[in-house]
Amino acid sequence: MQGRGTAVCLPADVDTDLVIAGRYLRTRDRSVWATHAFEDLDPTLAPRLMGAVIIAGKNFGCGSSREQAVLALREAGVVAVIAPSFARIFFRNAINIGLPLIESDLTCEEGSPVAFDLSEGWVDAGGKRHMIRPLSPRMQEILMAGGLVEYWRAHR
């Protein structure tokens, strides 16, 4: 799986309440989550997420199991999230909806181009190529299928 986008830099320990606040969770209109993504962290961020590769500090997505957090990012047009580590439920949730996550400790330059190839195991950022640890075989299968819904549609 390959992708490319523009770097958006975020700090460490961004919790899922900050990704999408509890007050926006109950709706059938998924665009609400994209519109209000990161509102309590930086209200100007949501419109800049289309085509973004988020490069964050450690422990991204900690806290609640709310899947609206990963759906908000996907709906807003985020291509992938790169961080040294992710909270484990957020990690599973992202792969389950087909949003690539990459565990890597990169220096982020806001607005710079980022490209990655998960099959070959690299990320190009800041003018350098960084090798990355592959996902587990099962997670790769789920991601390649487009998410867990598609995976189980194909495997039943």
Partner: protein, 403 residues
């Protein structure tokens, strides 16, 4: 020798395994999205060997028409399937599962991050998101990466006003919010045996606040007796020395009353250092500290006094609420000027029933104090039941030892 997680999952740390889930549960929050994913997967019947449960606790009762409609659909689904359904007012999912539904050695998955609470019974209990839960509805199974474990060795007994919540905040502060990411906590040592099930549930509950996948206790006589009282026969689990990735020694006698200050659970200070901080609300309840022993302790501390700030007390389940009525605990709480909410999560996740206004400050017995969680511009301090009682009486953060 193996860690308890390795024993239950039947494989060594680092391995990926597919395992049957013994009990799977979801609430009105995650259940709605799980139902959508289940339909998209073409779900028709549930996995055969798994016990399935749905509890309405997060926005219970519904706060508006949109929530009510979403809940209506999930309620219909739960009732038309073979799932065990608990409607609004029954209580918090983790508490209901802990009232005799979980046995030592089981694999338990909840669609909520605080599903780790049930590790207190010697089960491997962990949280997932909605789509993972939908797949468990479909197959009765899920995949796990068997975690490495952090050993938390407990010795001694609590002294003074310190309680299990203070110990929980102490270990989260020590490990940090990601100190145990992808790993499990195991609470071991002589100090464990003196802890009641309610106290153990608090320690397991907070394990996800250190990033942990699970927080386990070995089932012992205390566990077996508790389960017997809840109609279940269970056997204890023998501790075997094993290697932990990291070890932490905590003497309960060293623990003093603590609070986590906004907006991080791992930023913890002695209550004394914050004494005098003015409060707008005190909240006693949640899957952390809404159990009968918590409410009884709170009642004992406020009995015959009046709270100086609005104080919301929410029992974690209907069974707990009924017991507080039978024993007079509820009357003492009401006489002290507190108000009571429907058993459930209350305002913890910031939806209704006691959310904060801009600039308001709350001392809460819950487990998360993230920015804006209980309302935009509100500040949350996390503390013990005893700290909540002392603070409610004085209207400001007050050490429970201060009288």
């Amino acid at each position: 020798m193996s860690t308890l997680s390795e024993r239950i999952l039947g494989a060594a740390a680092g391995e990926y395994v597919d395992r049957k889930v013994d009990r799977a549960y979801a609430h009105d929050g995650t259940g709605v999205l799980a139902l959508e994913a289940w339909k998209e997967m073409g779900g028709d019947r549930l996995g055969k060997e798994t016990g399935y449960y749905i509890q309405f606790d997060h926005i219970a009762p519904a706060n508006n028409g949109t929530t009510a409609t979403l809940q209506h659909e999930l309620r219909d689904f739960a009732k038309s399937s073979s799932m065990q359904f608990s409607d609004i007012g029954c209580g918090i999912c983790h508490q209901l599962m802990g009232e005799g539904l979980i046995l030592p050695g089981e694999i338990v998955v909840g669609a909520d991050s605080h599903s780790v609470t049930l590790g207190a019974f010697g089960a491997f209990a962990t949280g997932v998101g909605a789509t993972d839960m939908a797949a468990i509805w479909l197959t009765g199974e899920t995949w796990f990466r068997v975690p490495e474990s952090v050993g938390i060795h407990l010795t001694g007994r609590f002294t003074g006003a310190a309680e299990s919540k203070d110990l929980a905040l102490a270990y989260v502060a020590n490990l940090g919010t990601d100190g145990a990411t992808y790993q499990a906590l195991e609470f071991v040592g002589d100090g464990v045996h003196a802890l009641t099930m309610d106290e153990r549930l608090v320690l397991s509950n907070l394990s996800v606040e250190a990033g942990a996948k699970a927080g386990l206790f070995y089932a012992d006589d205390v566990t077996v007796r508790y389960l017997k009282e809840h109609g279940q026969d269970a056997a204890s689990q023998e501790y075997e020395p094993c290697s932990y990735r990291k070890e932490l020694d905590l003497d309960l006698a060293d623990i003093v009353p603590l609070v986590a200050v906004p907006h991080r659970v791992d930023t913890v200070k002695p209550v004394d250092a914050l004494a005098g901080t003015p409060l707008d609300q005190v909240f006693v309840g949640t899957c952390t500290n809404g159990r009968y022993s918590d409410l009884a302790r709170f009642a004992r501390l406020v009995k015959g006094k009046k709270v100086a700030v609005r104080t919301l007390v929410i029992p974690a389940s209907a069974a707990i609420l009924k017991k507080t009525i039978r024993t007079g605990v509820l009357a003492d709480i009401l006489e002290a000027g507190c108000t009571i909410g429907t058993p459930g999560c209350g305002p913890c996740l910031g939806y209704h029933m006691g959310v904060l206004g801009k600039g308001e400050v709350c001392l809460s017995t819950a487990n998360r104090n993230f920015r804006n969680r209980m309302g935009v511009g509100g500040e949350i301090y996390l503390g013990s039941v005893a700290t909540a009682a002392a603070s409610a009486i004085h209207g400001e953060i007050t050490s429970p030892g201060a009288g």
